[in-house]
């Protein structure tokens, strides 16, 4: 399945892009985080939040959406 990853805030600078398309099999968010940390080692220092369908997911969740948001810590308000 082709999944679009969208990076937000400082992650755009850390990763060097705001979006990318990856091809994943049925994996969990935990596996996605491991893939991200392998691909972009600087992400290990940040506490990432992963969302699909406009809701923050748990690491155990399977990826079900074709659009995944990768967030650094929030800083609104």
């Amino acid at each position: 399945m082709d999944v679009t990853l969208t990076y937000y805030g400082k992650l755009v600078e850390v990763v060097g892009k705001s979006q990318e398309l990856i091809d994943v099999q049925a994996i969990t968010l935990r596996e996605l985080v491991l893939w991200l940390e392998n691909e972009y080692p600087d992400l290990k220092k940040l506490s990432l939040k992963i969302a699909q369908n406009n809701a923050i997911g748990e690491l155990e969740d399977k990826i079900t959406s074709k659009n995944i948001d990768i967030f650094p810590p929030f800083s609104g308000g």
């Binding site: 805030g9 406009n54 929030f74 609104g76």
Partner: protein
């Protein structure tokens, strides 16, 4: 309470005039006895000798609006409030300008005090908004809520 998901985002700073209009719009609701309003203002913090000149806010807007809608539902379920409004800036807000406006109205003051604190804490913790602090020399750092 409205069921549709509202857009919380305002391009640039939130003006005092917008706040005044919002207050005035509540004068027809004569069961209201207390309003509590929280405003966040961009601070000209000094970090490593450089002054913050502005914050540039970005967001996952669709999710931010959904989460604010959910926060409203939770607050309406928990407290006997009449009205609640949340606005947040997107884009550039200069030091001294207002970037968040949260507004709760109820019959009594204890209700609005408790509800508004909970609203603001939830916004800070749960809404995907990102602030980039821009210094006078155009360098920047990413803001983190504590």
């Amino acid at each position: 309470m409205k069921k549709s998901i509202k857009n919380i985002f305002v391009e640039g700073a939130i003006t005092p005039e917008k706040i005044a209009k919002s207050i005035a719009a509540h004068q027809s609701k004569t069961g209201i006895g207390a309003h509590d309003i929280f405003l966040g203002q961009v601070r000209a913090d000094e970090i490593d000798g450089k002054m913050v000149q502005a914050i540039e806010f970005s967001a996952q807007k669709e999710m931010a609006n959904q989460i604010c809608h959910d926060i409203k539902s939770e607050i309406f379920d928990k407290y006997p409030i009449y009205c609640m409004h949340i606005y947040h800036s997107i884009g550039w807000v200069k030091a001294g300008e207002i970037c968040i406006f949260a507004f709760v109205s109820a019959a009594h003051r204890t209700t609005v005090f408790n509800a508004l604190q909970e609203v603001v804490n939830k916004i800070k913790a749960k809404v995907p908004i990102f602030g980039k602090e821009i210094f006078e020399d155009k360098s920047h750092q990413w803001k983190e809520n504590k």
